[in-house]
Symmetry: C2
Subunit: 212 residues, 2 copies
């Protein structure tokens, strides 16, 4: 059985959990709590020396890091990874956009405002991130004015990757009211078969604590 390391609250972990739910793949999840610093703890560093979640472990012990790479690996042969080479490249284009232009601002502001002990100390950083995060949302809005999905003609890994932190952007202080096409796309994504919410555990998911 596949083992996924990471916590419910993490959007990067949620991307993988959402795909696993939509593929209906049974798996074990070991809870590794970022807010409590568990990814950098000795028990987890013994599993993943780079101290990052999500991480996926195969039955034979091989380990894969980076949410985008894990999504790619799990989606091979499924409807979430297109057959056409050009569409595949466009799906990756949006997954790289998410990691470079979106997550470092939208996810990081969510983390700073919601989980950090002293958000006031980060006020300057939050303000700078807010500008860059708005730009990412504008890029998404512009694309969605004449596309139903990101990357491919149908719902794909690109939508899963972008959904994770966009749907909780308000927790990072972003107001999606100015991005109507983004809001409509979020609704379409939520209506896909097998969709689960960020905090929603599934019957395919057996949860263990790190160290158990």
């Amino acid at each position: 059985m596949l083992t996924l390391y990471g916590s419910l609250e993490s959007g990067n972990v949620y991307k993988v959990r959402l795909l696993l739910a939509q593929l209906d793949i049974p798996h074990r999840r070991i809870d590794v709590d970022q807010v409590r610093g568990e990814p950098r703890s000795e028990p987890f560093l013994a599993i993943n020396p780079i101290g990052k979640v999500p991480a996926l472990k195969l039955d034979d012990g091989r380990l894969l890091s980076e949410s985008g790479a894990i999504l790619f690996y799990l989606a091979q042969g499924s409807a979430f990874w297109p057959d056409d080479g050009w569409e595949q490249a466009q799906v990756l284009r949006w997954m790289f956009f998410e990691q470079y232009n979106h997550e470092p601002y939208i996810a990081v502001n969510r983390y700073l405002l919601r989980f950090s002990k002293n958000p006031e100390a980060a006020a300057e950083r939050v303000a700078a991130n807010a500008v860059k995060g708005e730009q990412a949302l504008e890029t998404m809005e512009r694309h969605l004015r004449d596309h139903e999905w990101f990357g491919a003609e149908r719902y794909s890994l690109a939508d899963i990757a972008l959904y994770a932190y966009t749907h909780v952007a308000h927790e990072g202080g972003f107001d999606l009211a100015g991005f109507p096409s983004v809001m409509a796309w979020l609704s379409r994504a939520r209506a896909r078969p097998g969709h689960i919410g960020l905090m929603q555990e599934t019957s395919a998911e057996a949860v263990w604590r790190l160290g158990e």
Copy 2:
């Protein structure tokens, strides 16, 4: 003929130029100078509304952004993209690592120290980036202690993606002397057939100015 938009100095553009050289694919390069702000200029925004380089245009006018997605698209069927699904995922894992944990610190400090008009004003940011960039180099060093290449058993897109800004890390104030495995890997990469330097134009490359 393929058209690549971007300047010689950009490491992200160089990744694509290096792959095109190693695949020996003739192409046209339109120079778009980041230091002069040309990616955000009207003539370029008419081509790529998100204002980013590199961008690759096919003969039929279709456009692809994001260096990682362009590398993926061009390398299909070549020796630079492995056949095995697990190795493909590991190649992508290092390409996402490069964009998330490496480029934002090592490439950005190179930009700030070498190209910005007032590097002193960015001293605090440069110092913070230096810490994160060192961490990325440590992750690479640890991997290379018992691997010849990143991601696959042989030289692949992961090595091309990581080579681009690692080999000019000194321009961002990073000293590679403490990373002997990284230095040895850089030498191995430089010895690959068809390798070109960052500022080296090739006979397969016809260079035009934006607006010509």
